[in-house]
């Protein structure tokens, strides 16, 4: 693997030296600045046949698309399709569905699937596949509680009717939520998807995708393959030096390095991820105050994390009560509360968790508030520790509610009534918001990146 990466770096370095010759100084650009309203950067030509994108976090296969870290979300955008998509300005565009209509005033919507909608293995996507994919969220009488979907049924060979528990006067934007992407489970690795790219080689620090649909391969001027590289912060600088086509990172020092050296353009992406503290209910104490003391969140954003961050603000669209209502939930009174847990693939969540565990029982600003929060979870006397869990273990821990607290990121924008990946009983507090920067080598495809409604960058949709 190391030899292979070195070879890639040499190729990229050669390409970079050739491309940088005589280029203007990089410019930080606001979003969006392109004539195309959702393009991240001005289009600077066609994309290379083999497109190389680097990240400072790694993506991990996730059976629930849309619930991983930022890198996993971006990679998933290449691999999976929901029924519809929303552009950066909330315009609805087709994805798996090519058309939709309602005949009962918005109580239900019927979607017609594209004829070219296929899984990576060539099998056509049927309405039943979509229902099966959504069934993983079923709870009680609702098929997808957090999206307000009561049920969905096949009404034709390519037609799917989706019924809501409320009135949808327009096509429901929640169907663009990446969590509703259509997948089929596999034994291991990435779930089977319907996106334009599919993974072909996955190694410890890279993932290579290929354009798999021979019918439209290369027609849209899109790269035939995309190589994602996961680098640590030191390695990120090496990749920039080697001339990687693009890098997406929230590491401020890497951004500064890219801005300091010539040959790259840096674009700021939207504030797309909000880190929250979730304190599960102990069942015998009231919820903690959701309002941290003044200056506490600013201090976290300014000093506790190594990424560009700001204090989070409550999001009106999140409808928190919908996330915390789980009928019949009873916390286990014998639970051992010693940890503040975070997803181990999220560096910022780790830094926040490590900051929060210092507060319990200490007279630091915010300490009393946090102690109250931990006490509400039943942990008042012992120092909690920070512990990173892989995504599957972390989701199980969240479902059990048997940890002192949970620190994780959710999308800053939500089209669903609940932004949490799953319902959980307790109180949760937005802490900080973060954003990433897109570092692109001009002429190497940076102009072909567009933004979704939630700030996820992606290649131009060929369909």
């Amino acid at each position: 693997m190391r030899a292979r990466l070195d070879l890639i770096l040499h190729i990229l370095l050669g390409a970079s030296l050739a491309a940088c010759h005589g280029r203007p100084a990089p410019v930080a650009t606001a979003v969006p600045t392109s004539p195309d309203r959702c393009a991240v950067l001005p289009d600077s030509g066609s994309l290379p046949k083999h497109f190389v994108v680097a990240f400072t976090d790694s993506a991990t296969p996730d059976p629930l698309p849309g619930s991983g870290n930022r890198t996993t979300q971006i990679v998933s955008r290449f691999l999976y399709d929901p029924l519809i998509r929303l552009t950066c300005d909330d315009a609805v565009v087709p994805a798996l569905a090519e058309s939709w209509a309602t005949e009962d005033g918005g109580r239900s919507w019927t979607f017609t699937l594209r004829t070219s909608a296929r899984f990576w293995d060539g099998y056509g996507v049927r309405p039943a596949d979509i229902v099966a994919a959504w069934t993983r969220y079923q709870s009680g009488d609702l098929l997808v509680p957090w999206a307000g979907i009561r049920f969905a049924r096949e009404v034709g060979e390519r037609s799917l009717a989706v019924y809501s528990d409320s009135l949808w006067t327009t096509v429901p934007p929640v169907l663009a939520d990446p969590r509703l992407a259509v997948t089929r489970p596999t034994r291991s690795g990435w779930p089977m998807g319907t996106g334009p790219y599919r993974p072909i080689v996955e190694e410890e620090d890279s993932l290579e995708l290929e354009w798999w649909n021979p019918a439209i391969r290369g027609r849209q001027g899109l790269p035939g393959s995309v190589l994602f590289l996961w680098a640590n912060r030191t390695g990120a600088r090496d990749l920039l030096d080697a001339g990687v086509d693009m890098m997406i990172t929230d590491d401020a020092s890497v951004q500064q390095y890219a801005e300091a050296r010539s040959g790259y353009t840096v674009a700021t992406l939207p504030w797309d991820r909000t880190y929250v503290l979730f304190v599960p209910s102990s069942g015998n104490a009231g919820p903690p105050s959701q309002t941290p003391p003044a200056g506490f969140l600013g201090g976290l954003a300014r000093e506790a994390v190594s990424v560009e961050a700001r204090a989070a603000e409550p999001k009106n669209g999140w409808q928190l009560e919908a996330c915390t209502s789980v009928p019949g939930f009873q916390a286990d009174p014998s639970r051992q509360l010693r940890r503040v847990v975070y997803p181990s693939d999220d560096q910022t969540a780790r830094e926040l968790a490590q900051r929060l565990v210092t507060f319990a029982g200490t007279p630091v600003q915010g300490g009393e508030w946090l102690s109250d929060a931990f006490r509400a979870a039943g942990n008042a006397r012992t120092f909690p520790f920070a512990a990173g869990l892989d995504r599957a273990a972390w989701r199980r821990a969240l479902a059990r509610g048997d940890e002192t607290a949970y620190v994780f990121a959710v999308p800053s924008r939500s089209v669903a009534r609940c932004v949490l990946p799953q319902p959980a009983v307790g109180a949760w507090v937005p802490l900080i918001e973060t954003r990433a920067r897109l570092i692109a080598r001009p002429g190497a495809g940076g102009g072909a990146m567009y933004l979704d409604w939630n700030g996820t960058p992606h290649l131009r949709d060929p369909r």
Partner: protein, 578 residues
Amino acid sequence: MTFRTRLFLSYAGVVLVPLAVLLFGVRREVDRRLTFQVRERVSALASIIRTDLREQSAALTSRLNALSREAASDNSFRLALRAPAERRYLLDYAGSAMRRAGMALLQLQDSAGRILSSGHFRNEYDRSEPQVVPLLARAKDGPALLRARTPEGFVVVLARLDSIQVFGQRLWVIGGLRIDRGWLNRLYRDPEIAVTLRLPDDSGAVGDSVIVSPFSLPYIDAAREGESRLDTAQVVVMHSLAPLARLRRDVNLWFAIVALATAAAALALAGWMAAHIGGPLEELAEKTSQIDLDRLNVQFESDGEDEVGALSRLLGQMTERLRAGSARLREAERRATVGDLARQLNHDVKNGLVPIRNVFRHLAQVARESPADLPAVLLERQRTVEAGIEYLENLARNYARLSPELGRQPCDLNAVIAEVAAGTASQDRLRLALAPSLPRIAADPLVVRRILENLVSNAVESLPQGSGTVTIATFNGDADPRQPTAESHESRPIRLTVTDTGRGMTEEQLERAFEDFYTTKAAGTGLGLSIVRRLVLDLNGSMRVETAPGSGTRFIIDFPVAETAGRRVGGSSLEPGS
């Protein structure tokens, strides 16, 4: 116990006992020396570790000094202390400096104990920890251990304290090197040795199977809830005694092997010795056991020059002497037998003649006193005379055969008693108590008569002058209430008792009563009772005597019942002609 077993036990004892003593001594010496060596090694390692900790502490002090000087001369660091906008540099400073210096803990505190920057716990900044610096300062003379929190748990370090002056205020710099299992393991390479760090809260006891050499270090638990204090931790060097135990097991195993081999060798040697020594002895014993007076032709020749050969030859000579003595003895016995026979013949003839003589005396008396009654008396006593003559004839026939085969035929015991009683001179003293319906016995009537005549004659002679009686009684099976027998009714013998009220016998007299020629009478032959005993035994009967001085004597004889059916006498089943 056989000769072979004795040999085996002797050999085994001679070898195994010294072997056991040797093992005990070897084991004890090995124990002592190895334990001493292990103690020396553990003590030496503990000393090395103590020295190493001091050196590490000194090196840590040097590194902290260098870091402190570097921080004091770092402009960015100094500015970050005063400019909030540059605070991130300060927060990250300890982390990068700690990694650069190869430490596991680095913490900068202001004079009030507030954490300014922490390398092991980057986001611990602003927390107040005022106790640690004074406690470390108290332990400044040597290495001290510090337990601190990290985001994910705890870390124990060898800690030192330093300080710098910036902007007129003192900043404390605490640095530490990790003291964990990996660090302890690097101190030694011996798998039998374990070095552990025992903190004050550790409650685990050291097992008995190790040799321990602990030493103490100052210990500060900054991670505990509540106020920190200066405590004591122990570095414990332990050496397992397992190798010693293994050595003991090996010694035991080898001893067992040697003991078994020795026992096997002793067994083989004992077998060989037994075969070469015990074998001839056993053969000699076998030959010796065959020797008796009838078989003196056993050969004891031996060419052996050893003791067994000499013993064999001695036995041969002894057998020769026995053979000669036996021949002389047989000749003497033959002569004695002829003499005995003559005396017995004399005695028996006398017994046969006594009734005849009595009849003739009676006839002579009748002829003198009432000659007219002579024919009648003659006829009356004719049967007695004829019986006496018949007795003498049978006696003569028996002696003619020298060793007569006793006739066994159904015999009416009561009839024989009547005949004997009729021929007895002292009939007025004789009493008969004969059982009716007495089964016949299996005996020659002549022999029974000889028995009775001898017993009655002796009984009458034992009576005092003018008084006393002799009672002859027969019993059918269990009819003798004084002398019950254990046999069934059918197989019970017929019992004859001859009881007198005479002077009886002493115990000594009774013991010798059946010896030949033993008599207490002036004119006795001493053969009567010996003949009786011999005759009773010849008839397969049994006899015993009950007597006491002054109380008379009672002879009890049991005769076997004849086997024929309908053998009763005086009953309805009497045989014809009986």
